[in-house]
């Protein structure tokens, strides 16, 4: 089995170029690739489009941030496609000031749109969002006596994901609710960088228990404090 290069967080961040569409795993910061995000924040690459569950947490009082919030704070996103911005007041401020284009997508629809991109589907039909602002401007498809929204794939240039463990081939296992969007993001992007807490030898992960197959992963990065 082919081994995947293990690179620094900064080398990973350098692969993200201005204007790219960036898929980032994590749910309000749980399961986010924090080392690569910190490196990307340090580089300051701008004009990015974010596809992520949310813009994570930014607490104006304590200054505490999680997940992609440091990138939001530096204004690195021209556009964010997310299900939730309620815990990041800075995203709301940028939206109201016209600095960042915010597209809100229902969480389950976001998951399916990313999955569709990764699995070669041209779209999926869902009833989520019917009769709401989400349906505006979207094609409706009637099947029998029911009407559905046609939701389109969301592919990306680079996926930054976080896993608990990788083998040297790039097979990944996630931990608990830190799994969330990570496997989906890995399937939908041209380049996939996985930040992991532990790298084991090939053969040490049970092949029945691989969450993301190695072929989806291009590079590995060690998380801070990883082994």
């Amino acid at each position: 089995m082919v081994q995947k290069p293990i690179i620094s967080a900064d080398a990973a961040a350098a692969m993200v170029k201005e204007g790219m569409t960036l898929h980032v795993g994590g749910f309000l910061g749980c399961g986010s690739p924090d080392a690569v995000i910190a490196a990307l924040a340090a580089r300051g690459t701008r004009g990015l489009t974010l596809v992520c569950n949310d813009t994570a947490i930014s607490d104006p009082k304590s200054g505490r941030t999680t997940g992609v919030a440091p990138l939001v704070a530096r204004g690195q996103f021209a556009k964010v496609i997310v299900s939730h911005i309620g815990t990041n007041p800075e995203t709301q401020r940028q939206m109201n000031a016209g600095e960042t284009d915010v597209v809100l997508v229902p969480q389950g629809t976001l998951a399916e749109r990313v999955r569709a991109a990764g699995s070669g589907l041209g779209g999926v039909l869902t009833q989520t969002g019917l009769g709401t602002e989400v349906a505006e401007g979207k094609e409706k498809v009637r099947v029998g006596d029911r009407v559905f929204l046609l939701e389109l794939p969301l592919p990306g240039d680079v996926a930054l994901i976080k896993a608990r463990r990788a083998d040297r081939a790039g097979n990944l296992q996630y931990s608990k609710t830190a799994r969330n969007f990570n496997p989906l993001m890995a399937s939908a992007c041209a380049l996939v960088i996985a930040e992991v807490e532990e790298i084991v030898e090939i053969g040490q992960i049970d092949p029945d228990q691989v969450h993301t197959p190695s072929i989806f992963v291009d590079y590995l990065v060690m998380a801070k404090g990883g082994v």
């Binding site: 309000l28 749980c30 309620g86 969480q107 009833q127 609710t177 830190a178």
Partner: protein, 222 residues
């Protein structure tokens, strides 16, 4: 003269009494989360959390938090034996596919057509819908959990929602701190009123069509 006193505990207790053993339930962030504290002895429900787990347990003891184990509000939680984890596509497959029996969630407005608004106040607050649109569209039974009145005194039960909708005509049950309603036929059908309120008092103060069912009864949570 009956005076309204906001009471979230009654809402949580009444919702908790709806479930039976084996039901799969998603409790929204905020008020609905309280429901878990009032599940009757002997009733075992399975709590789903849309960020990717079944078998949601109580908050961990201080110092026992796991950075990789949170609920959909980013609070540390635990998992009960027999629970499991999965990714977001599977999680919403479970939700959209009708495998969640009940979802209880908070509201800004709910109307007599079953419309729900809880994700946006234009020009003021735009947190985003998160998983709410899928939960309301996909769950078998949708329970709106809300104090009956806003701070201003206006009822949150409306003839017609004025805020952007989370979902159209999906709400089945409404539990407030004055009564328990079913949404059907373009009306709120009052199933129970909660002491010290009365059906007349509720109807007077709610700007919506309310039908008092013949089987309607008083529930006393004191």
């Amino acid at each position: 003269m009956i005076e309204y006193v906001e009471n979230k505990e009654i809402i949580a207790r009444r919702i908790a009494a709806i479930f039976k053993t084996g039901d799969v339930v998603n409790l929204g962030i905020g008020l609905p989360t309280l429901v878990a504290n009032y599940l009757p002895e002997g009733v075992t429900v399975i709590l789903q959390s849309e960020n990717g787990m079944l078998g949601l347990g109580p908050a961990p003891a201080p110092g026992e938090e796991d950075k990789d184990l949170t609920n959909a509000g980013a609070s540390p939680v635990t998992i009960l034996p027999g629970g499991c984890f999965f990714d977001s596509a599977t999680s919403f497959g479970i939700i959209r596919g009708g495998h969640v029996d009940y979802t209880a969630l908070g509201v800004l407005e709910v109307d007599q057509e079953g419309n729900l608004a809880n994700y946006k106040i234009p020009g003021k607050m735009v947190p985003g819908m998160g998983g709410a649109m899928d939960l309301v569209a996909g769950s078998r039974v949708v329970i709106a959990a809300t104090t009956h009145f806003e701070k201003s005194g206006a009822s949150k039960l409306k003839r017609r929602c004025s805020l952007p909708l989370t979902a159209a005509k999906e709400v089945d049950l409404v539990v407030t701190d004055v009564g328990y309603f079913e949404v059907m036929g373009g009306k709120f059908r009052l199933l129970e009123w909660f002491k010290p309120y009365t059906p007349e008092w509720i109807m007077e103060r709610t700007d919506a069509d309310i039908e008092v069912m013949s089987t309607c009864r008083c529930a006393d949570f004191e």
